[in-house]
């Protein structure tokens, strides 16, 4: 598989959210604003790419009996770096994202890619897979957030798009809206690209 194929596969064909239904919790939790979603997506992409790279670089030396512990440790280290960076440089966003940055450690996408890809491929391919998976996840987050922020606040990335005439849909600001938007999104993608043949 070429580097381009690895990227396209992890970002689109085997997208972690709409194809593998992983990382749903944070997809629902942080998508009320596009900026929060972007930062969360970039945080996941950073942690995922570097964790994949490190896990892959150490894979031949890692004893099988402790590999899950090693993977968790490596993932946790990169996530803590993201968390501390946000606390130091973007305190407002760090506060808005709350515990969800720390919870990237338990995001199934990271352990899933570590086990399914990084533990069996070379570091460069694993890094590309991490970037692809992370950006695929970010794409889903931004799509949901765009709908929620536009209808809920009348803005995109905090810039007012709809005027004062717009009556805000308060349901879009609340968590349940993320459930049905994600469900509709997955339904459309699956129907269009992954239609199950009888």
């Amino acid at each position: 598989m070429t580097k381009k194929d690895i990227f396209i596969n992890s970002a689109f064909r085997e997208n972690s959210v709409w194809k593998q239904i992983l990382g749903i919790c944070s997809s629902l939790a942080v998508t009320n604003l596009m900026l929060n979603s972007l930062i969360m997506g970039l945080g996941v992409t950073f942690s995922l790419a570097l964790a994949n790279f490190t896990i892959s670089a150490l894979r031949t030396h890692t004893p099988r009996s402790v590999r899950m512990m090693v993977q968790t440790l490596i993932i946790a280290a990169y996530v803590i770096i993201v968390d501390v960076f946000l606390q130091a440089n973007m305190p407002a966003i760090s506060k808005q994202l709350g515990p969800y940055v720390g919870l990237i450690i338990t995001n199934c996408i990271l352990m899933g890619r570590a086990e399914a890809f990084a533990a069996q491929n070379n570091p460069i391919d694993s890094f590309i897979d991490g970037i692809g998976s992370g950006l695929g996840y970010t794409l889903v987050l931004l799509t949901i957030a765009a709908i929620r922020e536009l209808f809920g606040f009348g803005s995109l990335f905090g810039i007012q798009i709809l005027g004062d005439w717009w009556i805000r849909w308060s349901i879009m600001v609340m968590a349940p809206s993320a459930f049905f938007i994600l469900a509709i999104f997955i339904w459309i993608i699956n129907n269009k690209y992954y239609k199950v043949k009888a």
Binding site: V84, Q87, P91
Partner: protein
């Protein structure tokens, strides 16, 4: 012939130890370098909330615009807000023309998943809660963490509730009241 080291039972333990030391070391250095910035943000946020909670009372007494009091936060603190020393928790008094016009108490207590911290501002007679805000909590996002939102905060303002009341807001207010009593008796 002896086994290579990587096949001995001790290898996973040594490997895990080395990896742990390396990553914890990197994190420790990174955190140390960011610590000053993080602490500065926490102090700023704390002082901002302190001024915001007392700004309405101060604006009413002094006639200075509330927004200006908040914008010139450090000057407002230096001029009007004095810490009260000698108590087990942080407390402040808002002083105008040498008289206290409000008190503010930093209260802490147990939440569901961890400890919580809040500020309660009261009138000088300790009869009324002027303002209230939770500034640190570890509750479930979307559920308990909504304690920081305005709808919850607004419930806490007004007269101090009866000691027999048992709602969560009341419990918080009672903690505020407990903080007030030593100061009232000291006066």
């Amino acid at each position: 012939m002896s086994k290579p080291f990587s096949e001995t039972p001790v290898y996973p333990v040594v490997f895990m130890l080395v990896i742990t030391v390396v990553f914890v070391g990197v994190l420790a250095v990174f955190y140390r370098n960011s610590m000053a910035q993080i602490e500065a943000h926490k102090v700023n946020e704390y002082n901002q909330l302190l001024v915001e909670l007392l700004s309405d009372t101060l604006a009413d007494s002094t006639g200075i615009d509330r927004t200006m009091l908040i914008e010139q936060r450090d000057e407002t603190i230096n001029t009007y807000i004095k810490p009260l020393d000698g108590y087990s928790r942080k407390a402040y008094q808002l002083i105008y023309q040498d008289k206290p016009i409000a008190y503010l108490f930093d209260i802490k207590g147990k939440g569901l998943w961890g400890s919580m911290a809040a500020m309660v501002a009261t009138d000088p007679q300790f009869n009324k809660i002027i303002d209230f805000a939770v500034y640190a909590q570890m509750e479930t996002p979307g559920l308990g963490s909504r304690i920081t939102e305005a709808f919850f905060k607004d419930n806490s303002e007004g007269n101090l509730p009866s000691p027999k009341a048992t709602s969560r807001t009341t419990v918080w207010c009672q903690r505020g009241r407990k903080s007030l009593l030593p100061i009232r008796s000291a006066k």
